[in-house]
Every structure is written in structure tokens, then in C-alpha cells.
Amino acid sequence: MTPPLTAEPRTEAVVSVRGVGKSFGPNVVLKGVDLEISSGEVVALLGANGAGKSTLIKILAGAHPDHTGEVLIGGEPARLSSPTAARALGIATVHQRVREGIVPGLTVAENLAFDELAGGGASWLLRRREVMSVARRAVEVLDLGWSDAVLRRDVATLGISDAQLLVVARTLLQRPRLLILDEPTSALSSAEADRLFGVVRQLRADGLAVVLVSHRLGEVDAIADRAVVLRDGRVTADVAKPLSWPVILPAMLGASAEGLKATVLEHDTPETPAPERKAPDGDRPAVVRLRRVKLLDESPPLDLQIYNGEVTGIVGLIGAGKSELAHGLFGSAGWTAGTAEFDGLARPPRTPGEAIRNGIYLVPEDRADQALLPGWSIQRTLSLPFITKVSSRVGVLNGGSERDRASTVIEKLGIVARGPRTELNELSGGNQQKVVVGRWLVEQARLLLLDEPFRGVDLGARRDIGDQVRAVAGAGGAVVVLSADVDEVFEIADRILVLVEGALTLDSPITEVSRDDVVRAFSGA
């Protein structure tokens, strides 16, 4: 085990974590964590999927009162017995699962003001004007620009990115001593992430302490003053700025990080295009040809080809129409106008079932709502789309072949789990994502659509998933990765497309563009 590397002593600690441990039943997740967080600094909490980051954060947020060890706040031992207690002590948290933060059925404004509503101090009468003014303040904090009409809408109509922004805005409103952000950017585009970090810098200047969890190392590099690495339930590194990645990565990932350093860092630290990517070879036959497709009500018609044997990366801001594109190809939603032709198919798939039978697969963007089945095991979740492959012709399920499929995926993607029968809600967020991506990798795809596939997965896993996805392309399939993160696309794609409000503004082999070209394309130029 790498001994913790300590950074130089800092000024007064806002929060001191001393020997904190936590188990879920027999599963020991944290084995004595020590950590100091001072005011005016941004601490990045790093670690592989399942390292225990969210668990530590939940302890600080008062959601796991049954932990061992102690937490000092302002030098005093604190009892973090409930979320309210934590909040009263000045700790505000944005949890990893966005859906854990919003309340459907209430309006956007009520959700923005939910902490006020929930707190015992507020008046027992519901003052809508007050709610609106709190909501407007929250909108201002993050510069969301939502109109009053938006604020009055049912929050359930917001997409996941807007929901994420909502939760962050609400938390920022609390003006806490310690702000904890658990993967706040995993559902955000880089522009929105930048806006969020602008606010975080400002808060840091005001003396706030911030703990940030992220798997986007570029982000961490840009904003963190210090990085603390968790591994196997312990702190394995604690380094101050400038962050030394050669120290951090092995601390995060263990020996297996050796081969990673090169690749991962190259993609994560901007400007370097990916090596050994295919050059476009003339007039290949397209597997899909879109003609005059209108993705959004108001967007111009779009023509687009997707080719076999390559990874097509499509980047765009939130609301650019990426998900519409994917759902249209998959047959799970219609387009406003236009047609698609599939090579070798008489007609485009009209239902997801038809798509899957024809080798067209989709990893949807919202894991919780669109892919997870509450109470289901890894094995069942994996075999669901290919249920005919694990059952006999008369429909009888074959448990053995189900288990084998699951074991293969668990091993290939390094999913941290007890076994194929582990329920998905026991897994960390990143490991859940690996399962929902992994289930489409067992069968060779004709067209594999991945909508935000790297949401919340760690570096190592990102590489593992990337390798698998590239293998699909290598075996002759077409792969489309839709992402709001330019770096991710650079890391994996052979060709990059930029989508702005339903229109293509860039279409180029990855070897022939720079990151700056892409960013320029975002502005529609």
C-alpha cells in the first residue's frame, strides 16, 4: 500500500475527518479515513468507482449517522446525525444521484426553494412570492436565466442536465462553510461546467471550503487546490497544487495505472489528438444515411452518414438534439421530419425491439430512469435486451448462460461487485454505468449508439469501456458516441461531429481538427 503523501500544513481546518469508517453489512467500505479541509480551498476527492467517495460524502452530509470515527467542525467534535444537523453545522451537499435531489410534482421554483421549505424555521404558510424570490435568487447564483414561466413548471419536465443545475443552484444558496459536490458535472456540458466552476472560484475567494468529486481530471486539474485520493477505504494520497498526476494515478488505481498514465493523461490534458486513428478512406458505404431530418421542432434539416468500422463522436451542448438523434435511430422516438436509410435493412427500425434484433443498440443517457430496474441483479439487467439468447426456443430461461454472460461482462469491465447476482442499487454509480453499457457489448453491434456513456465512470473504467467500444468498431460495427464533453470524444472517436440546435456545424476526421476548432464550431461559426 502506498503510504499517504502529506502536503504541507495548511491554515485552520474547517472540517477534520478522523479515522472514519463505514460498512454496509459485511462490506467494509471505509476503513479509517483522515482528512482535513480548510477554508478557501477546493479539495478534489478522487478514486476509482466504488472507492467510497460518495459514502464519505454522505457521512459528512449526515446521511450515514452510523459511521465510526469522528468528524470535527471548526475544531469541535460534531454529531452528524441527520441531514438537518449537517446543514446546521454549515455543510451543504450536492449528491451524486440527481434524482435524489429533486421532487417531481413540485414546481421548479419550489424545488429551488426546497431547503427553505424543508427547514423548520420557515413560516407554516406557503408564501408563493417568497418561494419565487428564493428561486430567482438561486437562478441568479448560477446565472441560469430561467424565466418565471420556467420556474412555475413541474420540475418533472426538466431534463437531467437542467435538474442537475437546479440542485447545484439550490445548494449554493445555502452559503455554507463547506460545500460538497459529488460529480456535479457528470450530467453537464463543458460550458455549463465552466459556469459552475466560475461560481466555485468566487466562493473560494469568499473563504468557502469545497470538496469536489469528479472523474474528469481536466476539470480537477483546473480548479482543485489539493487532491485527496481514496482507495480501498483509505486515503492513499493527499497532494497539493500543482497536482502531480504520476503520484495520483497509481494511488487511485493501483499498479494497473501504469499503462494508463500515458493514454489517459494525454486525452485529459487537452490539445493532443488521439494517436493511431483511422484516416477517412474515400467513399465508403454508409451504414446509416439521414436525409433532411429535423431533430427539433425548430431546427434545420440535417443530412448525415454514419460509417462502419469507425467511432463517430457527436458533441453538442445540452438541448442540441443529440438524444433525439439517438432515439430516432433506435426507433424509440420519432423525428419531426426526414428519413433514415439503413444499409442492409428494408426499413428503419420502428421499435426498440426491432432495432435490437437488427443489431442497433442504444445506451440511453439517463441511467436511473432509462436503464435501471429497481431490485434487479446485474445478471438480469444484463440479459434483459437479449432475453431470447438466454432462453430456449419455448421460452424457458437458462440460468447458467445468463450467469456466464454476466461473469464475462463483470470481468471485462472490472465491475466491483460480489457476483452476477448482486443488486444494482448496491453498486456505486460508476459501476452501475459499467453494467448498463456492458450489456450492449456482449453481442456484436451493427450500430452502437452511446448517449453520454462515460457519465460517472472512473479513468480506468473509461479506458476499459473505450477499448470495448473500439473493439466493436474494429469488428466492423458502427459506433456513435454522443457527448457534451469534447475530451471524451477526442479520446475515443475517429470522426467528430458538432451539433448545435439540431444542425451540424462540423464534420471532420478527428485527426484533422483541434480542440479549438471544435469549440469554435459550438458557437455556430
Partner: protein
């Protein structure tokens, strides 16, 4: 650039105002049309006593339905309302007739009992973590049995003969009977009670912070907990409120029947759940709400009274009830552009 994440135009719901209006007011329209039809075709329907009568008949089911509504806001369903109402009937009768107490005491005892049953439900659901349907089903059986044990399976009537041959000392007091038979001006007391309780529940659910939090607990208990809402407390309070309202409904029944009828309340469960469910579809809101429940109760009562006046046999009434319900539901759901089910809503 921030604003572009939510272009208003992409939400086509605003584009179809007629459809929106039907979804929102279709149910209300069906009720109004039906009442209008009866007003025109049935002269007896027009009498003011009959119109107040609609509210009087709607009162027990409406009030019990409001209790179910509150339980539904926290994401639960209370199957014990019928038996709690029946318990209130027998208990209040027992208190007055056997216990020889005045009506006020009987009312108090029944309300406390209702609250207690609510607390038991809450304990089973919140503390013992038994799913709400199962927990309230268990209480339903137990309370139903307990009621009959209390009265030995018998209906309790004023000055009944006891087992030892003596006559029971007490009787249903006039004060108690006022619950059903009293009037303030031309307005019967049960109608007033229904109106007052509806307004209170509406105010609680829509205009107070507590109401919002009840909905929040139902829609996303985890988010509520993390935001510092005392989820267990709110859920408990909802079941206690449901128990108390079921008791109130039972008291109205007892006063109307004038004796401790053992079978009273039996049919209340299905009716109360039905009006609360129907209520979710009123106003196109798709969440349990006070006005919807009351309107549902009035709609169902109107159908029963109106169809009876038309001389339809009860089973044709059932078919008609089904048909009217269907039309109203088609308006509320089939035309709606919103998704049919919201998470956290009991389905």
C-alpha cells in the same frame, strides 16, 4: 446562452389550448352537464333541499375520501378507513348507550380512537417498515374484528336490552344526532362539515408548507430526507389525519342511522378510495388533491341520486356510473399530453 437550455417552444403543451382545457376541465364539465341534465329532467332534483342533500350524502364518503387523499399525498393508501369509520359508529354508540355518556364524550372517544388507529398504521409503516397497503390491510382486519368484539356482534340501539336482561342506561343524545340532523339556516350540518373540512384540507395541502412537504415526501422521500424533512413524522401525521377523518365520517353515519349499526362503514372503503382516485384525475393534475376528491364524491352522489330519481334499477346505475367515469377519465388521461403516471404516486 444559459437560457437556451429550456426553449419554451419545445414544450408543445401550450400549443393546444383546447385540448389542455378539456384535460383540465373535462371532468368538471361532465359533472356540471350531469347535474344540469338532472336539474332539467327531474323536477324533484331542483328542490333546494335536494341540492343541499347532495352535499349531505356526499359528506361521509367525501370526508373519508379526503383522509385517503392525505394518505395518498405521502405516497400511501389507507385501506383501513372503512373499518375505522365502522369502529367510530360502534364506539360512539357504545359510549352513549352502554357507557351512558353525552354525545360530546362519544365524539371525543371516536376521534381519539381514529387518531390511535392512524398512529398504529403509522408505526407499522414508518417504524416497522411494512408497506402501506399491507399494514393498513392488517389494521383493517383487526379493527373490524375488534369493533365486533366490543359490541359482541350486535347493533347497539338506544335502551336496548343487555345480556343480563336489564335495559341499557343511555341513548343517542340530541346533541349527537345534531351531527346529521342539525341545520344552520337552510344548510344541513353535514354539508357545512364537508365544506369546512374540504377547505381546511385544501388549505393544508395547497397553501401551507406542510402540505407541500406532504407531497414532497410522497414524490421523493429520499430527496426530502436529505433536505431535512422529517419524513417519518410527515407520513405518520398523514395516517393520523386519515384516521381522524375516517372517524368523522363514521360519526356522521352513526348520527344519520341513529344506532350503532354493525354493518355501517363496510361500503365506505371502496367508495372513499374511488373518490380519492377519481379526484386525482380532476383538473388534469394527476396528483391526489382536495377539490378533486370532493368533486369526485359529489359526482358519484349526483349519479346515485339522479339515476334513482329516473327510476333506474341499481344495477343499471352501476353501468351508468362506469360509463360516466369512463368519459371523464378519457378526458383527463387519454387526451392529456402529460405522462400518465408520476413517480411516487400510488398506482
Amino acid at each position: 446562452m444559459a437560457t437556451e437550455s429550456l426553449p419554451a417552444t419545445s414544450f408543445a403543451a401550450r400549443a393546444l389550448p383546447v385540448r389542455e382545457a378539456i384535460v383540465r376541465y373535462g371532468f368538471v364539465a361532465v359533472t356540471v352537464i350531469l347535474i344540469g341534465y338532472f336539474l332539467i329532467s327531474q323536477p324533484n332534483f331542483r328542490t333546494s333541499s335536494n341540492l343541499w342533500g347532495l352535499l349531505v350524502y356526499a359528506a361521509p364518503v367525501g370526508i373519508a375520501g379526503l383522509g385517503v387523499t392525505i394518505a395518498m399525498t405521502v405516497g400511501g393508501l389507507d385501506l383501513s378507513v372503512g373499518s375505522v369509520a365502522g369502529f367510530a359508529v360502534s364506539l360512539s354508540a357504545w359510549t352513549m348507550v352502554i357507557g351512558n355518556q353525552v354525545g360530546g364524550v362519544a365524539i371525543g372517544v371516536a376521534l381519539v380512537a381514529g387518531a390511535l388507529v392512524g398512529l398504529i398504521n403509522a408505526a407499522l409503516i414508518v417504524w416497522a417498515r411494512i408497506p402501506d397497503l399491507l399494514a393498513t390491510l392488517t389494521t383493517m382486519f383487526a379493527i373490524q374484528g375488534l369493533k365486533l368484539v366490543l359490541v359482541d356482534g350486535k347493533s347497539i340501539s338506544s335502551r336496548m336490552t343487555l345480556d343480563d336482561g336489564s335495559t341499557a342506561p343511555g341513548k343517542f343524545t340530541d346533541g349527537f344526532l345534531y351531527l346529521a340532523q342539525g341545520k344552520i339556516g337552510p344548510v344541513p350540518f353535514p354539508a357545512i362539515l364537508l365544506i369546512v373540512i374540504s377547505v381546511l384540507v385544501w388549505f393544508l395541502l395547497e397553501k401551507t408548507r406542510w402540505g407541500r412537504l406532504l407531497y414532497a415526501v410522497g414524490a421523493n422521500p429520499e430527496a426530502s430526507r436529505l433536505a431535512g424533512v422529517r419524513v417519518g413524522l410527515y407520513r405518520s401525521a398523514a395516517y393520523v389525519a386519515a384516521g381522524v377523518l375516517a372517524s368523522v365520517a363514521g360519526l356522521l353515519l352513526a348520527a344519520r342511522i341513529g344506532q350503532g349499526d354493525v354493518s355501517a362503514g363496510n361500503s365506505l372503503l371502496l367508495d372513499a378510495v374511488a373518490v380519492a382516485l377519481v379526484g386525482t384525475s380532476v383538473l388534469g393534475r394527476n396528483v391526489p388533491n382536495a377539490w378533486g376528491t370532493v368533486l369526485g364524491a359529489i359526482l358519484i352522489t349526483t349519479m346515485v341520486v339522479g339515476f334513482s330519481m329516473m327510476g333506474l334499477p341499481y344495477y343499471v346505475q352501476d353501468v351508468a356510473k362506469g360509463a360516466v367515469l369512463l368519459v371523464a377519465l378519457l378526458f383527463s388521461y387519454t387526451l392529456s399530453t402529460r405522462r400518465a403516471t408520476l413517480p411516487g404516486q400510488p398506482t
